[in-house]
Amino acid sequence: MAQSSQATEGLASIPALLQRNATRFADKPAYREKEFGIWQTWTWADVKREVDDLALGLINLGVNEGDFIAIIGANRPHLYWSMVAAQSVGAIPVPVYNDSAAEEMAYVLEHCGARFAIVEDQEQVDKVIDVQDRLHQFEHMIYLDPRGLRKYDHHMLHQFSHVQEQGRAARDEFTPDLEARRAKLDYKSTCVMLYTSGTTGKPKGVVLSNRNIIESAKNSCEFDKLGAGEEVLAYLPMAWVGDFIFSIGQAYWSGFCVNCPENPETMMTDLREIGPSYFFAPPRVFEGMLTNVMIRMEDASRMKKRMFDRYMAHARKVGPAILDGKPVGMMDRLKYALGNMFIYGPLKNTLGLTNVRVGYTAGEAIGPEIFAFYRSLGINLKQLYGQTEASVFITVHPDGEVRDDTVGIPAPGVELKIAESGEVFYRSPGVFEEYYKNPESTASTKDAEGWVATGDAGFIEPGTGHLRIIDRAKDVGKMADGSLFAPKYVENKLKFYPNVLEAVVFGNGRDRCCAFINIDLQAVGNWAERNNIAYSSYQELAGHPRVLDMVQGHVEEVNASVAQDEMLSGCQIHRFLILHKELDADDGEMTRTRKVRRRIIEEKFHDLITGLYDGSEKVSTKTEVTYEDGRKGYISATLSLRDAKVYEVANRKVAAE
């Protein structure tokens, strides 16, 4: 397709969009944040003032065009403004995961050569100061929350509001410079740089241009008819591309309001109070919400529970059809309306999803049950498939064509192709410019014609044109007998059980599959309490024979279901164990976005894997763990290994073909 290099209405940058919004939507709320128990609101006109003051302050501090400014903190309006202010002065914002350890932070700051950082609070200031000696270009740090920082050396440290005040004071002096810098921004200039927390190796800095962000925002807004009236809750990490597209790209494109929670723990309350109309959450959030509902229903009176069960059954039957506008009988509609009054409505209200018009989930496969639950309530939950390198959108579910087993059709402006190896490739206006200071990786990911490798294996369903993802391309392997090994496929099936938090399946090149399981402490803990099983720690609960029995049941059910699929029936789990610790990003076993790091786990727990394959009943092991403050310690445990029943496939012909 012809990519227009001309921006719509001359709006070629986020700061330009802000100028437009400040006139067009002057008095409309642009940001809200809950502070001291009350929602504070800023209009678009307010935001322009705040951003301009900060931008002038940044010039005053000596920010040059092309500088990198790290933004570190939780979702707060001031930090979003910081990104736009950085763009306004020709600098490049680099949002950094605020829960990253000092080590990871040091790598990112050093790699991009940030001269400035705008951070949220003392915690982040401390982290940056810790690694400051290793950062050669680093100069100034600006912080938002002064608490606890009064006694710090303020030579290089500045309070956010002071920077703004100084900027305001020097307005006459610096405004021409600011105007000039802003005027230089075009579709080609860099909008943001985001570091991907790849499953392997060091993070890579993905450079996204104004064209990438604005075209993606524009296309996706048109696709879902997002307008200035939407309300969103910004609660996902600011360093993640999705948040950047939703809370900046789309928000600035269509002028809708971004709401920031009071603090991370109040997210559910804030969600209820805001009632967003456009909502994104990774599957784990939807899963957590559903688990909470179920736990509360367990404690509810018998009558309530019976009513809930009956109406939910009805909702599962007709809810999705009603949502998709398919024909549904009069009586069923009536019963659904009744259920809506007594069950679905109040339930959506407690979940804060009453107003959701468009809801998305992505990042990982969502459990069919979970997906169906929300859709049956009448919430238009859809899946999308995306990547940082694509400015999020690769494929999306259109309204009315939502299915749990596909990730939808190519998003507007996106072309797809499937390589020989089964790997999915795409090309779109959102395709990233490059990996910063890493031409080899850029070349190996994006070819000369602009096709980008996703690293995922999948196929396009004939007839519907929907894309189906099987697994990570590199994780799809072969078993010893040559049959397909797709661990993620099996792991996802396991993770759909509320009791299972994580699963890691092994079997590449081997004759059979085995698995590690992490139980969900909340769900299993609740179950234990109801069944009078006493436990004092995760480890104790994980080792309880009855928990093992329960998980064994889940594993065997999964085996039965895997056996149905002749291509993948070799992936049935022959033996499993429940890990004595939760997989943790601090220990390097997962990424910050909670994806398992297969190779590291394989090395770290090799003794357990050996045990699984040599048929031992019990294995004793000792594992290093990292506490939140960075100290290390050891836990030791003796784990029980279990056999699970596997199912024969009548017409197994994979090996023959």
Partner: protein
């Protein structure tokens, strides 16, 4: 240590410590025939963090209860802000601006966190029963003003997420924090903390230490705390009183106390002879 300037001094990290706020003079407390506290004197200065430490049964909690009016000593005088204090009921002590927490947590279990912290403002509510019925506007204004103070405390102690949660449902560590919040809501001149870190894990202890330091730093609140765990106290406090068997065996900066032979003996359990 008693040779410090009566007007106060400046600590190594630049905090200003003022003149003496509270002075205990020759306090003796008996329960029946048993002496819980024997002839103890010490002072607390404006703006400082003062710790009272000692092994179990040393009489630390009794001392705190004397300061907060829960116990009335048989002998000795309590001076507060230059005035000798007549024997007082605990609620009168609270009304003087001395707030406290308890070793075993005394919260209003049936109320929400917010309501609990609001009780810390009871003494600031002027509108009485009848004026509240008649002057609705004034009472409302007062309510809003008090709520604002409470919200700042809630924000400060990072307990926004549990604002509406009934206290009975909270885990131990959070309950301790709510109790601190209630005491802070009273904007006390002197804050008494009875073993604020008892029963906490390492992480919770660190959080609590940070909150104590921040309270002192941000609001300039004078804090007297009792602790069993010597390590935590030494990092936290400006001056330390050490008690053993109801007697004072040391008083001074953490370093002075650490090197005091009597203190070392008491903590290592050397026989008294």
């Amino acid at each position: 240590m008693n040779a410090v300037n009566p007007e106060g001094y400046t600590t190594a990290d630049g905090r200003k410590i003022g003149p003496v706020m509270m002075e205990m003079k020759n306090i003796t407390l008996r329960f029946g025939g048993v002496k819980a506290i024997t002839d103890i004197s010490f002072d607390i200065r404006e703006g400082e963090i003062r710790a009272i430490i000692g092994p179990n049964g040393a009489g630390k909690s009794s001392m705190l209860n004397v300061i907060s009016g829960f116990y009335v000593p048989q002998e000795g005088e309590v001076w507060f802000r230059g005035e000798k204090r007549a024997p007082m009921k605990p609620y009168q002590v609270a009304q003087q601006g001395i707030a406290r927490t308890f070793q075993n947590i005394a919260l209003f279990e049936g109320m929400s966190v917010l309501d609990n912290v609001m009780t810390g403002r009871l003494n600031y509510m002027k509108s009485g029963l009848f004026s509240q019925a008649i002057w609705k506007g004034k009472a409302e204004q007062e309510e809003v003003a008090n709520r604002e103070v409470v919200e700042r405390v809630i924000d400060f102690l990072e307990i926004q997420a549990i604002r509406k949660t009934p206290v009975a449902r909270l885990p131990y560590g959070l309950k301790k924090r709510v109790e601190l919040a209630r005491a802070l809501a009273a904007e006390p001149k002197l804050l008494l903390l009875d073993e604020p870190m008892a029963g906490m894990n390492v992480e919770e202890k660190e959080d609590m230490s940070r909150f104590i330091l921040d309270v002192n730093d941000e609001f300039g609140t004078t804090i007297a705390l009792i602790e069993h765990d010597m390590g935590v106290v030494m990092d936290l406090s400006d001056r330390v009183v050490v008690m053993d068997y109801g007697k004072k065996i040391g008083d001074g900066t953490p370093d002075e106390v650490r090197n005091n032979q009597d203190v070392i003996d008491a903590y290592l359990g050397v026989a008294h002879d």
